[in-house]
Structure formats: C-alpha cells, structure tokens
C-alpha cells in the first residue's frame, strides 16, 4: 500500500505574494509595516527635497505657483508623521513585542492585519490629492479657518482626501493600540511579570495607551472639519458662533500626545541597544519605567503650549506643565548615559545610531525647553526655530532610533547581518547632513525667518544659511544610497547571523533567525528582565524541560 506524506492544504495554493497579502503573522505584518513606512519615508523625503530646493536661494526657483509649495510642505509633514514615523515604530513593536514577552502572536492577529492594510489605503488617499486638483495645503496642522472651505482657503478635494486619509490612519492606530495593550497584559509568558518586561515593551505599552485615548480626539476634530467643509457646519466659523481656536484645542489635544507616540518607542529601542553594546544592564530600570509613564501622563496636559500666542489658553499652567516634562526626560538621559558609563563599548552601527539619538535628542529637548517659556515662545512662534526643534526631536531622535533599531533587529528579521562598513558610512553621511540641514535653522529662526514661506528677501542675511540647509538636505538624501545598497546586498549575501549575533538579553534572541511562525519551541526560565543573560551566566536553570514536544502547533490565523 502506497503511502505519501500529507502536506497542509494551505501551502498548496498560497503563492508568496498571496501569503504576504493575507498573512496574520505578527512578524510578517511587522515587516510589512517597516517596508511600507520606508516607502513613504522616501516619498516624504522627495517632497522635502523639493521644498529645500525652492528655498536654496531667494526668489522663486521652480515653483511658480506658491500654492504648490504649500502642498509640498503640507504633504511632507503629514506623510512623515502619520505614514512614516508612527507606523514605523508600530511596525518594530509589532515584530519585537510578542517575541520579547514570549507570546506566539498578537492577541488579535486579524485585527493586526486590518490595522496594517488601512495604512497604504490612507496614504493613497493623501496622495490622490495631487491628481484631483491639488493636495491639502493648510499645513500638517490644518488650522481653521485656512482649512475651511471658504474663499482664499482650502477649496478643492485635497483637504477632504487628507481628512479621510487621516481618519483611516487614526483608526488603524487605535486598533493597533488596543491590540498591543491586550497582548501585553494578557499574553506574557509565565514568569514575565510587568517589572521583568523589556523596556521596549514598556514604552510600547505607554504609547498604546496614548494611541487609544488620544487618537479618537483627532478623529472627532477631523469629522467636525469635514462637516464644516462639506455639509455647511459652523464648528470653526466665528461668524456663526463657532470658534477657529477650537480646532487648535482639539487638534493639539491629540497631536501633543502624538509627539510622544512618535518618540517613546524609539526611546525604548535605544534602551534595548545601549545595554547590549556596552555590556551592562540598563541603569535604573524602574526609574526608566516610571519616567516613561510620567512622560505619557504629562503628555496629556501640555497640549496648549502649541497655542500660547492665541490668548485663549491659560499660559502659566501650560508653561509649568511643559517644563515639568523635562524632569522625566532628564531621568531617561541619566539612565542612558550611566548605562554607557564605564561599559565595554562596541562601536558597531546600532550603537552609533543610538549615540546619534542621544546627542541629537538632547539638543532637541533643550531647544524645545526654550520655547516652553512663554515670552521666548512669543518671539519664536512659527519661525524656523520651531522647524529646527521639531526636526531635532523627530529626525535626530526618532529617525536615528529607527535606524538603530533597524540595524539591530535586521539579523533577527532576515537571518543575515547588515554590512558594517556601509552602515558606518551611512551614519556619517546622515549625521553630518542632518546637522548641516537643521542646525542653521536655529539661527534662521532667531533672525526671524518665518516657516512655511516659499520665498524670502535677499538682503536680510538668510541666504547662506538656507543654502547650507539645502546642501545638508541633499547629503541626507545621498546617505540613503549606501543604506538601500546595504539592505539589498545583505538580503542576498550578508553574513549568516545565527540566533543571537549581539549576545543580547531579551527573549527574541532565544529563538531562531528568522523565528518560526509560532515564535518559540521552548522558552528559557524568566527570572529577571534579562532572561538570556541569566541563561548565559548560569543564573537560570536553562531551557525549561517541556512535558513532551507534541505535534507542532498550527500558526494562528
């Protein structure tokens, strides 16, 4: 009697592409998030280069319609914030968090896939504005009345498409946050108590709380704007009893917590990388956790420092609360620096980017604290100082963190190492380019150059600094060439990574690279926040003996 092996029915008809589109595996969805975010990063980068080219010299270079310039910086901001940084960090969280807590998958795998697929759809909606008579041009903050459908304001479909796209992206963010919260609170491996969770999991936890509670506020603001524009509503129309400042209030009630959504996971990634490459435990684990929670909590009560000059908010209250944020952030800075202090540093690419994060985020934090003082803010409101500040925090902070995390977890995602020389070349280029672009903007802001202008006078001394910033912008762009080349080459011929190339501490390095669909065959005993360290140094009884292997479990669908 002939026998033949039974193959699972699913593998018979699932091609590679079909598998990627229909997957509910958190690791594949995580990679989809990362790839999608990089695509939008490059699109947003092209928009930024167009903006910088226009500003290289006084006078109009090539954008003879200033409305197009407004569309470019609006879309640059929207894409980088909503389609690059937030989804990129969510993507890393998606990949790493279930592995780090020893879970087989996220709590709701199908909702996880849903939250991912809303993103490209939202991105397409945003970009559709360019082919339907002009994209949104009221800035990424979309202040009323500029964003209202009135003469001289944002007529046309671009703004409506922007609203719809952001609503979709926001819904994706809410669902993702719920998914992370349930995963972290319900799916931890036995022994993984809350205070043994890796720092990245803590930061993703706080980020998810912010996402679940803050994003719906943005949704309500967007819906009000949509009603105003399309159905004759009057929320933001003072002539009929509404209030234009109301938009700023509700928008920033989301968008200030969103600033922490954009940076907290990057802080978590740095906190995973620094201990590994300095061969020391993270200095002050619990202090770091409480600082993270403190930043999240304060993030909800400082929103109106974006609207000091409106005269509609209570200035001393928000100034005080804003200065308070420096305290938990300073605690974190001490944690990081003392983690490095007297460690055995290995200056490989992830650590270089992490150090870039530390130094640049420090500058971004300090120049932000200046603006927390009300009189200084009155002088610097809407100048290039603000542009410098937000780029030092979001690019110098989050994006450097993203690259650090990418170089750190790429071996786990693909099983192959990235090339160190190309990585260091990229770091040098991006570090110099970044500072050349954004440092002069401090001076431009102090000299009074307003943001969001397409042209400036040639006799006010802004020419050289603007040219330097443009050159820096192209230097940043050129740093993406070694990066992409590195990824392409390493995917095919990179050095084989093995399970744990960095001798790291957390659970994701206990499984194979890339991990199997169900993540773990067996878990080490978890007695601290560094289970693999305990395993290497004999503080754990090693891989727990399992009752019996049993049949391999089905991947969850």
């Amino acid at each position: 009697m002939a026998t033949h092996a039974l193959t699972p029915a699913t593998s018979a008809y699932r091609s590679g592409l079909y598998e990627w589109i229909t997957t509910t595996d958190h690791k594949k969805i995580g990679i989809l998030y990362v790839v999608n975010s990089f695509i939008f990063f490059f699109l947003g980068g092209i928009l930024a280069l167009l903006v910088r080219t226009e500003l290289a010299q006084p006078g109009i270079q090539f954008l003879h319609d200033e409305g197009v310039y407004n569309q470019l910086f609006t879309m640059h901001g929207s894409v980088m914030i909503f389609l690059f940084i937030i989804p990129m960090l969510v993507g890393f969280g998606n990949y790493v968090v279930p592995l780090q807590i020893g879970a087989p998958d996220m709590a709701f795998p199908r909702i996880n896939a849903l939250s991912f697929w809303m993103l490209p759809l939202g991105g397409i909606l945003l970009f559709l504005g360019f082919v339907t008579g002009g994209a949104a041009f009221a800035g990424w903050t979309s202040y009323a009345p500029l964003s209202e459908n009135r003469p001289l304001a944002s007529a046309g479909h671009g703004e409506d498409l922007w609203i719809m796209g952001l609503t979709l992206i926001g819904t994706s963010s809410i669902l993702g946050g719920i998914n992370f919260l349930v995963t972290i609170f319900k799916m931890r491996a036995p022994g993984m108590t809350l205070f043994r969770m890796p720092i990245l999991v803590w930061t993703v936890l706080v980020t998810s709380i912010l996402q679940v509670l803050a994003t719906p506020v943005l949704t309500s603001a967007l819906i009000m704007l949509f009603i105003d524009r399309n159905y004759g509503g009057h929320f933001f129309d003072p002539a009929s009893g509404g209030s234009a400042i109301l938009w700023q209030n509700i928008f920033w009630f989301y968008s200030h917590p969103a600033v922490y959504i954009m940076v907290l996971p990057a802080m978590g990634m740095i906190s995973e990388i620094l201990p590994v490459f300095s061969r020391k435990p993270l200095f002050g684990y619990k202090a770091f956790v409480f600082a993270t929670a403190g930043i999240g909590a304060l993030g909800f009560s400082v929103w109106a420092h974006h609207m000091f000059t409106t005269g509609q908010v209570f200035l001393p209250f928000f100034s005080f609360m804003t200065f308070l944020i420096a305290v938990p952030t300073g605690v974190k800075m001490f944690n990081w620096v003392f983690t490095l202090w007297r460690g055995q540093l290995t200056l490989s690419t992830p650590l270089l980017f992490a150090l870039g994060f530390l130094s640049m985020f420090l500058l971004g934090g300090i120049n932000g604290a200046f603006s927390a003082a009300v009189p200084v803010d009155f002088a610097l409101q809407d100048t290039y100082w603000v542009v410098a500040h937000l780029h030092y925090v979001l690019f110098g902070g989050s994006v450097f963190g993203v690259f650090a995390g990418f170089y750190y977890w790429f071996p786990k995602m693909t099983g192959r190492m990235l090339n160190e020389s190309l990585g260091k070349l990229q770091f040098v280029l991006v570090f110099i380019g970044f500072n050349l672009t954004f440092f002069p903007m401090h001076q431009l802001g102090l000299a009074g150059m307003p943001r969001r202008i397409a042209d400036y006078a040639s006799n006010v001394g802004w020419n050289d600094l603007n040219l330097a910033a443009t050159i820096g912008g192209f230097l940043i762009a050129s740093s993406m060439i070694p990066f992409l080349w590195n990824v392409l080459v390493s995917l095919r011929g990179g050095e084989i990574a093995g399970d744990d190339p960095w001798e790291a501490n957390t659970l994701e390095w206990a499984t194979s690279s890339p991990p199997p669909p169900y993540n773990f065959d067996r878990l080490p005993e978890i007695r601290s926040e560094r289970p693999l360290f305990d395993l290497r140094h004999g503080r754990s009884r090693g891989h727990a003996a399992l009752p019996e292997p049993g049949p391999a479990p089905e991947p969850t669908h």
């Binding site: 946050g177 319900k186 949704t219 009000m224 169900y518 399992l546």
Partner: protein, 242 residues
Amino acid sequence: MPPCLSLARRLSQRTDERTIVTTPSGAITTGDPGHGVAEHNPVAGLAHDSRGGISNPILGMLLFICSEIMFFSGLFAAYFSVRASALTWPPVPPAVPPEIAEHFNLHAEPWFAFALTVVLVISSFTCQFGIWAIRRDDRTGFIRNIAVTLVLGIAFLIGQGYDYATLGFGLSDGVFGTTFYTLTGFHGAHVFGGVIMLSVVLYRGLAGQFSSRHHDAVEAMSLYWHFVDVVWIALFSTLYIL
C-alpha cells in the same frame, strides 16, 4: 512541572473553552474558568480565561469603549466651548432667518427625546437580561431578550429620524444646529453599529452558537450597547436639560 507551559498548551488554551489551569503545585487540571484563580476578581461576572483576568475579546471591547469615550469627549468639548463663548444660548447668527430660529427650543420640548431615552434605557435592561439568561444556559430567554433589544434599538433609530424630520432646523443653521446634529448624529451612528452587532448576535444565537461557556461575543456586544446608552443619557442631559 516547570513554571512555563509549553507553547502548544498555551495555544490550545486560546481556543479551547475547557481551559487548563496550572495550580501552584504545578499540576495541570482542567477547570471551569469562573472559579479558582478568578474567584475574588471584581469582574468575575465576565467571561474569564484560564490564567485569570478578562478574556481577550471582551478586554479588547472595553479598551475600544475607552477610545470611544474620548471620541465623544472631542464632540462634547466643541459643544461646551461654543456654548460658553455664546452670549445667549442658543445663539442666533444673522444668517439664520427668524422662522427657523424660533425652532431652537430643545429645552422647552424635551418630551419626545425623553421618550427615546426611556426606549434606550429599557433596551439596556433587556440586553442585560439576555446576558444573564445565556450565562445560565437559558437560550430561549437569551434570544427573546436580544430580539426585544434589537426591536427597541431600531425603534430608537426610527424615532430619531422622525425627530430630525420635524425639528424645523438643519445642520447648517448656526453653530446650534451644527453641534446638535453632529452630537446626536454620531450617537445615532453608534446605535446603528450596535443594532448591526445585535443582529449578528441574534442570528448566531438562533443558529445555536452560544452557550454559558461560549458567549464572549454576546458579552462584548452588551458592553458596547450599555456604553451607547450611557452616552445618550449624557447627551440628553446636556442638550435638553442643562
């Protein structure tokens, strides 16, 4: 027995309602999730999973409700903000003709809306009776109560539609009309979502898919329905009484 369960076991726990409980001695036993570790839990009425705590779908729904609360907070913030800055409430901007403005009298005639409130509150009760029925495996009582809830929910929507048709002012009639229709309209949209959930639950109940062990979807749906009810009470108090 080591403290860590094998992955296969943990995976099976997620789908198997007859759950596996590890006792402190490490023995693996099958047990009723409502007892043992979760006994003193204040939310013991909700379905639990093996390791204590609320089951994943219900916890997910509760978190979604938290996020929905914040969605309505934005709308309420807009309402209170424009109401506080208005000289008189309701404000009558010059663009609104007086024959429309005379209909801005929600406080004078709250009775129809009060009837709708009663309908929704009763539906919350019948929904809860349905939950209690399915918890003790009384499928007939469960289906009856859910069907009544569904009918009351649809009645609320029809009543709201009738109210909109007879109010005499529209969405674009000053900020008063805008806030009224946006707040009640988005509540109505949530009721509509709840009606769809109720229909799905009723259909699945008729197909015999729920039992006292397996009814997470019903619990999640009822939590959402109660939330919608509470939002309406807040809306009614704010728009018609305050």
